[in-house]
């Protein structure tokens, strides 16, 4: 399983990386292939084909000591340019 960390960027505009996952570390659950980048598509511009991944996080990683059940998991779709490979 490839470990990745979500970048902590906070750019203005239309972004589909949830703020609550920025800076969090997870594993690639599966690669989904390229999709038009919503960050430009949202403004009527061409969306460059950008690799999209499903990333799995533990609730412990996302919420720390506040996690309801630390071993439960959360999967989200995140574009590759938001991910830093750790392995």
């Amino acid at each position: 399983m490839t470990r990745v960390r979500v970048h902590t960027y906070m750019p203005p505009g239309h972004v589909r990386t949830p703020a609550y996952l920025r800076g969090k570390t997870g594993v690639i659950e599966r690669a989904l292939g390229p999709f038009p980048n919503p960050e430009t598509l949202a403004y009527g511009l061409p969306g460059a084909r950008t690799d999209l991944y499903r990333v799995r996080f533990t609730m412990a990683e996302v919420w720390g000591d506040m996690a309801e059940t630390p071993t439960d998991t959360l999967d989200a779709e995140i574009f590759g340019h938001w991910l830093e490979r750790l392995d």
Partner: protein
């Protein structure tokens, strides 16, 4: 008095208050939608009848479509395998017109319970299941499901043991999700048509379990 509403001057004959008229000005986006739609019709790109027909097509989609998919997966191992590999293709194979929908099916087992949410907006597999329930789009459901899924599930009447891992799926981008619930016990003799009657909308979102036979 059927109900104890306070303002008795504004009750309808049913005993409920009259609903306020919604004759407020259009929002910016409503005006924009009307303008674009009228331009498309004026320029002959589409017609009012085509738009009305598309609304009918969407309204005709219902959780029954998903229930048929789930029941087929319960009775046809080869189909279940195709569903878990490519749920869009498997749904189309059953004859459902799901358009460009990119669907992923996630399977509940004795150890895993899946639940679907869209924290950013209200992404939902509309092209298979029809329009989502209002609560699915509420801020409470969207924010709490990623934070305390077990508490949310308990409010839906679903209490899961500590031996079950909950997998929350936040549909943040291009995929949409359907939960493949576990087939209920005591259904060995039932065919797919009968089984489909046990598959509720909520059990395909993950906020419910299939009905008991």
């Amino acid at each position: 008095m059927p109900h104890d509403h306070h303002d008795h001057d504004h009750l309808s004959p049913s005993g409920h208050p009259y609903r306020a008229d919604d004759d407020t000005p259009l929002t910016y986006w409503q005006t924009l939608e009307i303008a674009v739609r009228e331009l498309l019709i004026d320029k002959g790109v589409t017609t009012a009848a085509t738009i009305a027909r598309q609304i009918d097509v969407m309204d005709a989609r219902s959780p029954a479509n998903g229930a048929a998919v789930v029941a087929r997966a319960w009775t046809d191992p080869a189909f279940k395998s195709r569903l878990l590999t490519d749920a869009s293709m498997a749904s189309r194979d059953m004859g459902f017109d799901i358009g460009p929908l990119r669907l992923i099916a996630v399977e509940n087992t004795a150890q895993i319970h899946n639940i679907i949410v869209c924290t950013l907006c209200s992404c939902y597999p509309r092209n298979l299941l029809g329009l989502p329930p209002d609560w699915y789009k509420s801020r409470a459901y969207r924010s709490r499901t990623v934070r305390e899924p077990r508490a949310v599930l308990a409010e839906f009447g679903v209490t899961l043991g500590a031996d079950v891992t909950i997998r929350v799926h936040d549909s943040t981008a291009d995929m949409r999700y359907i939960v493949l619930p576990a087939r209920p016990a005591g259904t060995d003799g039932m065919d797919a048509a009968a089984l489909a009657g046990l598959v509720t909308r909520d059990c395909m979102i993950g906020t419910g379990l299939p009905l008991a036979p």
